[in-house]
């Protein structure tokens, strides 16, 4: 064997199995609320509790969102699809079977394009996407105690996305997940929040080792319990090293040992063996007799395609190019969904500098949405009105401080910015003579400030100037032109004390 090799003598092969929860109001087969974080067992009914004699009925929105995701993932859509029972016993599954899709999933054979490190793109194949119900949540007991079961999540709609083993590095696995999240968030299919479990990911990984001129595949390991994108990347990197060392030690090849499942231990940053499957689980799938099949018509597909429109990856590039905003801003705007990006574009068109639009969207608007728990559709200020407000800052009619005050009132009352500015007298004071007089008056009344300015040095001296600016702003009720005030204060301080600003 060579004594030193810069590159690793193996290729990493990774395939992902991703589960995402759909953004529906209600569960997949009943009208219970589909929401994370509610008090345990408050969103349950006889259907999702698996009571005998109940009948599940498919949520149309869930099926539409599933179709939207599959179309966006370039999948073939099956014209005829049905559901099956997957039987197993676990306390988080009240019916003792999960309604899933087995031999006729609604979509298959797609791909997602991801950016590569060298600036190109790469296609990651999608084997299938299917729609199934989620299980409840089990809170494991302390030693000796009982386990708690919360069935709020039981029966919520879940999309399973299985990729081909097309990723060849931990970074690619992470990039795939980032692109998938961008796509599904933008299309408002899922919020893809790994912390809250609305995106969950398992990985299958092995190595193709170059050995004596031949390629040897190591046993495939399934890795679970990765709770962030960072964890996926770290777990894959760890697992590749571990498998290579194990191969050097044992020489075990694919097919020679039972498939192993390992869990990622975040604290110790290692994977830990959970079990070895001696044989495939026997889920005794059979067609779900309580649900009728779905036939997807050309019209349904057209509708879904028209809802998608421009893809997020393209829109991100276009926003950055067309509006000249930073790529980071464009990415975040697109990730916040189609409606958010639509709002941004309407807003930005009404401004001289679109960067102001992205700043307002990602700071003031976003903060308000978070605080009120609103979506952008629920935000009461229309983009043209917000553009009216912010363009007044651009024209130096009001300053940012006053604009924030107007913004708050616009959210409350829905009134026009012009009326609010007039009523509250918020027009910016930018008359140089007027402001200079105020600066002189303030300095006359506060002689100690001049002494401080003389005594202090560097940053401290600058802080004194800041303090004076604050006094001016108070005098003018926050309406003064901030840039002009800064210049006038600096000039006056330097002139009166004879020491420079720095």
């Amino acid at each position: 064997m060579a004594t030193s090799t810069e590159a690793t003598p193996y290729t990493i092969v990774i395939g992902l199995e991703v589960h995402v929860q759909l953004l529906t109001e209600t569960k997949l087969f009943c009208g219970c609320r589909n929401r994370f974080g509610d008090p345990p067992n408050t969103n349950v009914c006889p259907i999702c509790l698996g009571m005998p004699g109940v009948l599940p009925v498919m949520n149309q929105k869930a099926f539409q969102l599933a179709l939207r995701a599959a179309v966006a993932l370039n999948c073939q859509i099956a014209r005829f699809t049905k559901w099956d029972r997957k039987n197993y016993y676990y306390p988080d599954l009240p019916k003792n079977y999960q309604i899933s899709q087995y031999d006729l999933p609604f979509s298959h054979d797609g791909y997602l394009e991801i950016p590569t490190a060298d600036g190109g793109t790469k296609r990651v194949g999608i084997i299938r996407v299917h729609l199934e119900e989620d299980a409840g949540k089990l809170l494991h007991a302390e030693r000796g105690g009982k386990s708690q079961v919360d069935l709020n999540r039981a029966g919520t709609p879940l999309l399973e996305i299985v990729t081909k083993p097309d990723m060849n590095s931990p970074a690619e696995a992470r990039t795939f997940l980032e692109e998938l999240r961008l796509l599904l968030r933008y299309l408002e299919v899922s919020d893809c929040n790994m912390q809250e479990g609305s995106l969950r990911c398992d990985a299958n990984i092995n190595l193709h080792v170059q050995h004596n001129g031949q390629t040897v595949a190591t046993p495939i390991v399934e890795v679970k319990n990765m709770n962030s994108f960072k964890a996926v990347e770290a777990a894959m990197a760890y697992e590749a090293r571990r498998q290579y060392e194990e191969w050097l030690r044992t020489g075990a090849k694919l097919g020679e040992v039972p498939k192993e499942t390992r869990g990622w231990d975040e604290n110790r940053a290692v994977t830990v063996s959970q079990r070895r499957k001696e044989e495939a689980s026997d889920y005794r799938y059979f067609p779900e007799p309580d649900l009728v099949p779905v036939v997807v018509s050309e019209q349904m597909l057209q509708e879904v395609r028209s809802q998608i429109g421009e893809f997020p990856a393209q829109r991100r590039l276009r926003l950055a190019a067309e509006y000249g905003i930073p790529e980071y801003d464009a990415r975040v705007i697109v990730e916040l969904g189609k409606a958010f990006a639509d709002y941004f574009e309407q807003f930005a068109r009404g401004l001289e500098n679109p960067k102001n639009a992205s700043n307002w969207m990602l700071q003031d608007v976003q903060r308000t949405l978070n605080a009120k728990g609103w979506t952008i559709e629920q935000f009461p200020v229309r983009p043209e009105k917000l553009a009216d407000l912010v363009s007044r800052i651009e024209r130096r009619e009001i300053n940012t401080h006053a604009a924030r005050e107007v913004f708050a009132e616009m959210i409350e009352s829905g009134r026009d910015p012009g009326a609010i500015i007039a009523e509250r007298g918020l027009t910016m004071v930018s008359d140089e003579q007027q402001l200079k007089a105020i600066v002189d008056q303030v300095l006359d009344e506060n002689p100690k400030v001049l002494e401080d300015f003389k005594k202090k040095k560097g940053k401290k001296r600058k802080q004194v100037a800041g303090f004076v600016r604050g006094l001016i702003m108070r005098q003018t009720k926050g309406r003064a032109d901030a840039a002009l005030v800064e210049r006038l204060v600096n000039e006056a301080l330097v002139a009166r004390t004879g020491v420079p600003l720095e």
């Binding site: 349950v44 498919m58 149309q60 099926f63 809170l139 079961v149 069935l151």
Partner: protein, 95 residues
């Protein structure tokens, strides 16, 4: 095709049934009778028949994504063998 006692034992395990040797013998006999009965279907020529996904000739039954009241929690938990008032309680589970 006759089912062996081992196959019946495997099915019993999947259904979480613990069978005595006598029960296993009885079940194996009875299950084989059922399978034999169903096997009569093999006599039908199904060469040109499409597989059936559902016995009803209906498709695309949907409901709107509209909220309906859930059960009050005390009602939801009422029939459970064990609860703490918030959760269903089950014996500790080993994964």
């Amino acid at each position: 095709m006759a089912l062996s006692a081992e196959q019946v034992q495997a099915v019993a395990l999947l259904a979480r049934l613990r069978l005595t040797d006598e029960e296993l013998a009885v079940m194996t006999g009875q299950l084989n009778k059922i399978v034999e009965y169903v096997e009569q279907l093999h006599e039908v020529d199904t060469k040109d028949v499409e597989p059936l996904a559902h016995p009803l000739p209906i498709s695309n039954v949907f409901r709107e994504d509209r909220l309906r009241p859930s059960l009050p929690r005390d009602v939801a938990l009422r029939n459970a063998p064990d609860t703490d008032g918030e959760f269903f309680l089950v014996p500790p589970v080993l994964d």
